[in-house]
Amino acid sequence: MSGSLPILTLLVLVPVLGAGVVALMPRDNERLLKLVGVTFAGVSLALAVALMFDYRATGTGFQFVSDHVWIRSFGISWKLGVDGISLFLIGLTGVLFPLVIVGPAVHKDVKGYVAWMLLLEAGCMGVFMSLDLFLFFLFWELVLIPMYFLIGGWGYDRRIYATLKFFLYTMVGSALMLVGILTVVFLHQRATGHLTFDVVTLANEQSLASSTARWLFLAFAASFAIKVPIFPVHTWLPDAHTEAPTGGSVILAGIMLKLGTYGFLRFGLYLFPQAAVDMAPLFLTLGTIGIIYGAVVAIMQKDLKRLVAYSSVAHLGFIVVGTFGLSQQGLEGGVLQMVNHGLSTGALFFLVGMIYERRHTRLIAELGGIQRVAPVFAGVFMLVMLSSIGLPGLNGFVGEFLVLIGTFVTHRWWAVVATAGVILAALYLLWAYQRVFHGPVSGENATFSEMTMRERAIMAPLVALIVLLGVYPKPVLDRIAPSVRELIAHVQEHSDYRQPAVAAGAAER
């Protein structure tokens, strides 16, 4: 089916079209607006699912590439493509957006909310698929604007402060990356004589001097590190997550943080292999600090949403460690962990949002004993939380374990410290669970209502994926593996790094 259909282009255009349609509709019929919005998001999901089925698991390189010259004189083209690394992030994007459009109650201006969400979806899809640096930067910035309005328009009390912080932080990184992109392209032109923004060409021709490459890598890394976020540039995250509306937090945690980690893989390691290898200890250290630090800070948070936000800092630390551990397991685990974190933290934000809708507070101290009055709610929360803790049999474990075991093989001591984060994750989440759900129930908590059918319908796909990916991650891992293997081969070819044989296994012979 997709052999003839420009499926990737459609994945970008359908949400844009949806945003346009929603923008033209009257603003008073909220149900219809949501229906139209979810239809477009649903079409995107269907396309993403079709993409995953049509993707050749054994294939190498980028698939479904659509390449059209856009601005010829600057060598800019509309070039989209997927590989095993981006495939499931696209799938995750497809899954989460319909849910955030129908899921949380939107307290005002449904039209704007739905339209911005669809535009955001287009931007996220675009980032994950772009194979042209210019196009990538375009989508990268495009993502910012809807999120700015979503937090600023539909957020909680300190939303203006949070949006401004979020926006400025990200812009600082973006500015550095823009300089990096232009420098890469023009230096490449000076070296080879032709001007192109094509990532694949730039990566394969490797025309940069090593010291230059290191600086350029840092310019890119600054942008990605802020987006991830890596300690110590993480402080925008708790504010933005906490002040964003439920849907915004879900997308922010579920997808937008992955833009950074994805960027490290696609543009960091791919464009600057030697620099990435040289800088790996720095980022491993920062990632490890993030794991421990995020968890320690999370322990004491008084606001449930803020706690989940800090847990993201810790979880994203694992992905960074896996990425810069540069082993087959670590990288695959990192990619898988991106999806996992999107599912489990996305689900956690949904649940915290539901708590807020019922109790109009997110303060842990004001909650308590909810399990007694809403056992199903508590059960779902528990499952999602255990996934976040990394209980084997649920998705979080697979990614975390692969990251750690792969990193242990290549960078032993970092992995040892990172593993300690596993203990802390249990501590802060269980303590929070205990304070919110256990204990005697009293006051307003006694009227806490059980999950509605609509809420169950929203959580069902997430819960199903959490369990499925924990029990049988093979289809996913099999599709990620060839791309990761290629990436490692690429890094080895262009740097002095050699992956230990234990990690590579028989497939690498």
Binding site: V416, H438, G439
Partner: protein, 636 residues
């Protein structure tokens, strides 16, 4: 039948899923019977597998079943598969067997609880996890079970989560276990980095190539995991608190099965342990110290379940003493007999609590043997077994361990012997306080006020307070377990032959038979003198209770307070410091500081914007002049 091994964990899993979906509709007691049926089914399958395995000859007694690929990445290839060998079948048999009995017991015990179906959901999930743990063919899948039982233990300890103490105890158990899991995970990483595999068969067969250092590292890291799971020093603190859970849970998880997982793991990796004598010595030492330490605490506890909990810690210490002495069979043997008598004791205690309307303090019991004949009869069997009185099962297994310890190190043996004496003493104290002596019951109102447990209101025969015997569903498991606890000793030599294939170097007792006999006599005398001591103190009242229950023991050597001081308080302070000083002030302060700087600069600069259009025009003109001046300067 061998190919049906997957059914052993699959049946409890099915039960879990069925109850999860429809348990609430089934209700009390149907849900309990469904869960029990699944366990009985699993037991039947396990017996079938056992006989199939018996049919094979010694070295061939190994069967692997591969279900599907779980995590397969690069050099790492882990499948969901089972390793059937004498060790795993032994474990599976007693887990399903004891598990089925405890399920049946729970049908009666939990009757009337408002979350009755949920209890069986957890219980079946626990059984599934435990069976995955013992049957798996790889470290990673064992870890799945390992964590699964941990999670179920958490659910079940905090089953009555309205009580803050129960909720806290559950959390404490999970987190403490996680500390151990940290070691387990690192051990797996090291195994993978060394062998390139996590499957038992290649790793254990390749173990002989290990260097001494690596073997010691792996052994110690795995032992860290075992210390957490099996409640050894210094991570034992969660187990006494775990008694907040319903009594069947204490019996199943915190006595018979889960806590022995650490011992199982140690025996499973015995080829690696054999290469690390230093690690073995450490294991034996920790085991012996734990056994002694916990026994001292058990002597001064008043809560009927707390005594049993510390006793479990102590007995687990025995098992590690055996492992550390290289007597793996003795460890497994004691694990099995301990499962019988400790499950029996816990269930008996549950029956007592049930009959006393949720009274747990032994000081308010007494003379119950008249009122609860089955319970008291079976409990006494359990008592004699754990005390090591011949010919009950505990005598045989404890004797093996002490013999092995004697050969390993006389000091460890002496600690073990002292512990045996104390074990006999505190168990006798318990029996005498509960079943003999005078009636020291509280009045009904007081009992009501004391019993925090609201779940059993249905039994409160208000007005005429009389202890009553438990229903048949509870009594039947007691009788069966009492039978097993009494005659379990006969398993000794079959078990030795049976387990031989899984051991790299079967342990041979080197001592002469006269030494053995001497040790048996010493041990027995020790046990009997412990009983005698208890008799004179608690039935004859020769000594005042306060003198044998020093405050320090009553408070368990203040270990919890110590942890509170050296771990929790600094940890909390550190977390507070990180969250509210480092993060909020230092890091975010820097960020906001940059913002404030820009703002201050802007405030200064804004005065330039006078708003007068002629000023702006002037600025344009000056700019033009500047540009022209630059051009002039350049052209000149």
């Amino acid at each position: 039948m061998m190919h049906a091994v997957w059914l052993i964990p699959a049946l409890p899993l099915t039960g879990f899923l069925i109850l999860l979906a429809t348990g609430r509709r089934m209700g009390d007691p149907k849900a309990g019977y469904v869960a029990t049926a699944m366990m009985v089914g699993a037991f039947v399958v396990a017996v079938g597998v056992f006989f199939d395995l018996m049919g094979l000859h010694g070295e061939e007694r190994r069967f692997q079943q591969d279900l599907f690929s779980w995590i397969s990445v690069g050099g790492l290839d882990v499948h969901v598969g089972f390793l059937v060998d004498p060790l795993s079948v032994t474990m599976a048999l007693f887990v399903t067997g004891v598990g089925a009995l405890i399920h049946l017991y729970s049908v009666g015990y939990m009757h009337g609880d408002e979350r009755y179906p949920t209890f069986f959901v957890y219980l079946n999930l626990f059984a599934f996890s435990m069976l995955m743990l013992v049957l798996s063919d790889s470290f990673l899948l064992t870890f799945l079970g390992w964590e699964g039982v941990g999670a179920c233990s958490y659910f079940l300890i905090s089953f009555w989560f309205e009580r803050p103490s129960a909720a806290t105890a559950g959390k404490k158990a999970f987190v403490t276990n996680r500390v151990g899991d940290f070691g387990f995970m690192l051990a797996m990483f090291l195994i993978f980095a060394t062998f390139g595999s996590l499957n038992y068969v290649p790793v254990l067969e390749g173990a002989h190539e290990l260097t001494h250092v690596t073997a010691t590292a792996i052994a110690l890291l795995l032992f860290v995991g075992a210390v957490g799971k099996s409640a050894q020093l210094p991570l034992y603190v969660w187990l006494p608190d775990a008694m907040e859970g319903p009594t069947p849970v204490s019996a199943l998880i915190h006595a018979a099965t889960m806590v022995t997982a650490g011992v199982f793991l140690m025996v499973r990796v015995n080829p690696i342990l054999n290469l690390a004598p230093g690690a073995l010595t450490l294991i034996a030492t920790i085991g012996a110290l734990t056994a002694f330490f916990a026994a001292t605490i058990a002597c001064a506890q008043n809560d009927i379940k707390k005594v049993l909990a510390y006793s479990t810690v102590s007995q687990l210490g025995y098992m590690f003493l055996a492992v550390g002495s290289g007597a793996y069979v003795a460890a497994i043997f004691h694990m099995v007999t301990h499962a019988f008598f400790k499950a029996l004791l816990f269930l008996g205690a549950g029956s007592v609590i049930h009959g006393m309307h949720d009274e747990q303090d032994m000081k308010y019991m007494g003379a119950l043997r008249k009122w609860m004949p089955i319970t008291s009869g079976t409990f006494i069997v359990g008592w004699l077994a754990i005390a090591g009185v011949p010919p009950f099962s505990g005598f045989w297994s404890k004797d093996d361990i002490l013999l092995a310890a004697f050969e390993k190190n006389k000091a460890l043996w002496f600690i073990g012997l002292l512990t045996a004496l104390m074990t006999a003493y505190y168990m006798s104290r318990q029996v005498f306080l509960v079943f003999y002596g005078g009636e020291r019951w509280k009045k009904p109102e007081a009992a009501e006020a004391h019993g925090e447990d609201v779940a059993h209101d249905a039994h409160g025969a208000h007005g005429d307070f009389k202890p009553h015997e438990s229903p048949p569903t509870m009594a039947f498991p007691l009788v069966v377990l009492a039978g097993l606890a009494a005659v379990g000793g006969i398993l000794k030599s079959p078990l030795e032959r049976w387990l031989e294939p899984v051991l790299a170097h079967p342990h041979e007792f080197a001592s002469s038979s006269s030494t053995k006999l001497g040790l048996i006599v010493v041990t027995t005398v020790g046990a009997l003198s412990g009983i005698g001591l208890a008799y004179s103190i608690w039935l004859r009242n020769r000594v005042r209770a306060e003198t044998v229950e020093p405050e320090v023991l009553r408070h368990a050597w203040y270990v919890d307070a110590l942890y509170q001081k050296i771990v929790e308080a600094p940890g909390r302070a550190l977390a507070n410091f990180s969250a509210f000083v480092v993060d909020a002030k230092v890091i975010d302060g820097t960020v906001n500081g940059v913002g404030a700087l820009v703002r201050a600069g802007g405030t200064r600069l804004r005065t330039v914007q006078s708003g007068f259009v002629r000023n702006y025009a002037l600025a344009v003109a000056v700019g033009a002049v500047a540009i022209l001046a630059y051009a002039v300067a350049r052209s000149a």
